[in-house]
Amino acid sequence: MNRFFGFVKKEFQHIFRDKRTLLILFGLPIVMIVLFGYVVTTEISDVEVGIWDRSMDQTSIQATQKIFSSGYFVPAGYLEREEEIGELFHSGNAKVVVVFEAGFEKNLKRDNRASIRLITDASDANSAQLAQTYLQGVLMSYFQSINQDVRLPWTVNVESRMYYNEELKGVYMFVPGLMALILMLISALMTSVTITREKEFGTMELLLASPLKPREIILGKVTPYVFLSFVNALTIILLGFLVFKVPVVGSIWLLLLVCMLYITLALSLGVLISTSAKTQQVAMFMSLLGLMLPTILLSGFIFPIDNMPRILQWLTHIMPPRWFIVIVKNIMLKGTGLAHIWKESLILLGMTLFFILAAVKRFNIRLK
């Protein structure tokens, strides 16, 4: 037992002496949360809008003011000719051009109808749609307000309630995904690299020749990363809560338990990779490409699974992060207990056991 602890201590020392890697290991979750919380939003803001007002009457001017006071849009200049639209888009100085037809107010008063063209640079289709939707909303509500002298009867009032995320914070989506990503990164990537490192430097043979049993070696290598990952999981939850007010509605213990399960899974994957990789480089790339990429793309982290083509949706079923994210979202944001997530938890448990067995088996084979 003593020699096992001695070994674990050595592993800890290795890690803590490498200040740079340590900095990144702890700094990464923090930076990621900030990035996803503030930077990577699918919302739009400060969209540059050019105005071509062919009427310049009171209504069109007021409508323009309303657009820029909505908080989503900023002015990008006033146009006078059709050609300027293309120029504006080409130079990237505006995303939308609003065109008020000539005689706007006059048409409204006389014919009761007038038109506005909303021309968007749709090279970014997503923002283009959002910009259109919001612009339309602003304009429509402005017109309803000037219509309001006539209070229409037989109105259907709409009340919308936002469940789980009343203030519509973008970051709610990301915290569970970030946990899946970072825990996978630290546990799997680091474990695979550290084991492969010993192989590359030849010290693995030394270890195997020592009284340490193979399973002790693996456990020893893996233990520090269990702690690190756990600390990171806590950091993410804490940061999410303190900085972005992302709550933990359900049981924190259940949440931590699931995290431990996921960490174990990621660690086994790391060990599995290390049995196939000959050098550190190979281990790194296998982890990054085999684990990181699918985690980001196919786990429902950023891109909703429902939108993917059938084949990919089917593929996501074998991605552990996918199940983990569902469980975390349920516990953290909806506050559900085991009753709702037993299916996903069972799947995750099954996967974990499978990977542990596979890793152990492969490791023993490698030894022979």
Partner: protein
């Protein structure tokens, strides 16, 4: 000159003998290009709605038909039990509940106004916003319809506003193209930064640097020999990516490809410089890998690969001034999708040029100091 050629021969041989290299240059990009572009869609389709209609009147049925007839909504279930609907929301079998109470129609006739509720799963805030917008729009149309048809009130007692949207450069609103350009940026950056840095540290770890120092090889020759291969490979990767894009997705190439490649040449210089610099401050491959990975991830996320850089908060946009990927992301989309010309991207071009000179000087100076 001859020394340079000799070194380059060695570098290329070593690169291609490295077993991870070939899959990274060819296989990974293709897989990424396919997976990412198909997976990465943020559009809204098939919003899953469960209807709690406790009124079951003509009015309520008409409203519901407005939703079932809409291409945006998928009516997955209809019930009179609110708790049942709520549990569907909780278990993610529905995105939104339409709740119509049992006095819906009555109130319309008696009080001349009535209410209904949408309960939306707002974990994905943007989605929720759009769901709200679409639902409200349908209700408004319904409202106008019943005012006109049932109560004879012509809505055009008020003014009617016609809004005509038009989408330039991408009339079909194809998300894939946008995503694809992002991937091209990622690929070029990956090769330029990570592979270069790894290669440099590997030399350090192998211990052959001392042997090199004794020979007549000048430092600048050594550095050029280390960087040039990846510069070439990165450019090749861009070409390869463009080809795949054209074949698989009919990627538009509205602007000048020559201009794009010119810009990319400068971009890769910046990225190589960063990779070189990072390798001078790392001792082991493991360390370097993490530092480089960290920078790359941050640069790429902040560059606007998934979401527009203009929508980021001010402080983030300031950081983007030193984020070369942000420049590249912008320019590649401008050239490929809009056909922007040199004068449109001249600001970005010259900024990157200055950046390249600065970072390469810094990196080379540091390299000299540490070897």
């Amino acid at each position: 000159m001859r020394i340079l050629l000799t070194l380059l021969t060695k570098e290329f041989k070593q690169i291609f003998r490295n077993k991870v290299m070939i899959p990274i240059i060819f296989v990974v990009p293709v897989v990424q290009m396919i997976l990412l572009t198909y997976a990465a869609s943020l559009e809204m389709k098939g919003i899953q709605m469960v209807v709690v209609d406790q009124d079951l009147s003509q009015a309520s049925r008409l409203l519901v038909s407005g939703f079932s007839g809409s291409p945006f909504f998928d009516l997955v279930h209809s019930t009179t039990s609110y708790p049942e609907a709520e549990s569907m929301l909780t278990s993610d079998r529905a995105d939104v509940i339409l709740h119509i109470q049992n006095d819906f129609e009555k109130r319309l006739y008696v009080e001349q106004q009535t209410d209904l509720q949408f309960i939306i799963n707002a974990i994905n805030a943007t989605e929720a916003g759009l769901i709200n917008a679409y639902s409200t729009q349908i209700v408004q149309e319904y409202n106008s319809q019943i005012r006109a048809e049932w109560f004879g009130l012509n809505d055009s007692g008020g003014m009617k506003l016609e809004i005509k949207p038009s989408y330039w450069y991408n009339p079909l609103l194809d998300y894939k193209i946008y995503m694809f350009t992002g991937i091209l940026v990622i690929l070029v950056t990956l090769i330029g930064m990570i592979l270069t840095a790894l290669n440099l540290v590997r030399e350090k770890e192998m211990g052959t640097t001392e042997q090199i120092n004794v020979t007549p090889i000048r430092k600048y020759q050594f550095i050029v020999a280390k960087l040039l291969p990846f510069w070439i490979i990165a450019l090749f990767e861009l070409a390869f990516g463009l080809l795949v894009g054209k074949l698989l997705y009919d990627l538009p190439m509205v602007g000048s490809l020559g201009l794009l490649f010119l810009f990319t040449c400068v971009y890769i210089l910046v990225v190589l410089g960063i990779g070189l610099f990072l390798s001078t401050i790392s001792n082991t491959q493991q360390q370097l890998m993490f530092v480089v990975f960290f920078f790359m991830l941050t640069f790429i996320l902040m560059s606007g690969v998934f979401t527009p850089a203009e929508s980021m908060p001010n402080w983030a946009q300031k950081i983007n001034l030193v984020n070369p990927a942000a420049y590249f992301m912008r320019v590649i989309r401008m050239i490929l999708l809009k056909g922007s010309e040199f004068r449109d991207i001249s600001r970005e071009f010259f900024s990157l040029l200055v950046y390249a000179i600065l970072i390469l000087s810094l990196a080379v100076t540091n390299y000299r100091k540490t070897t």
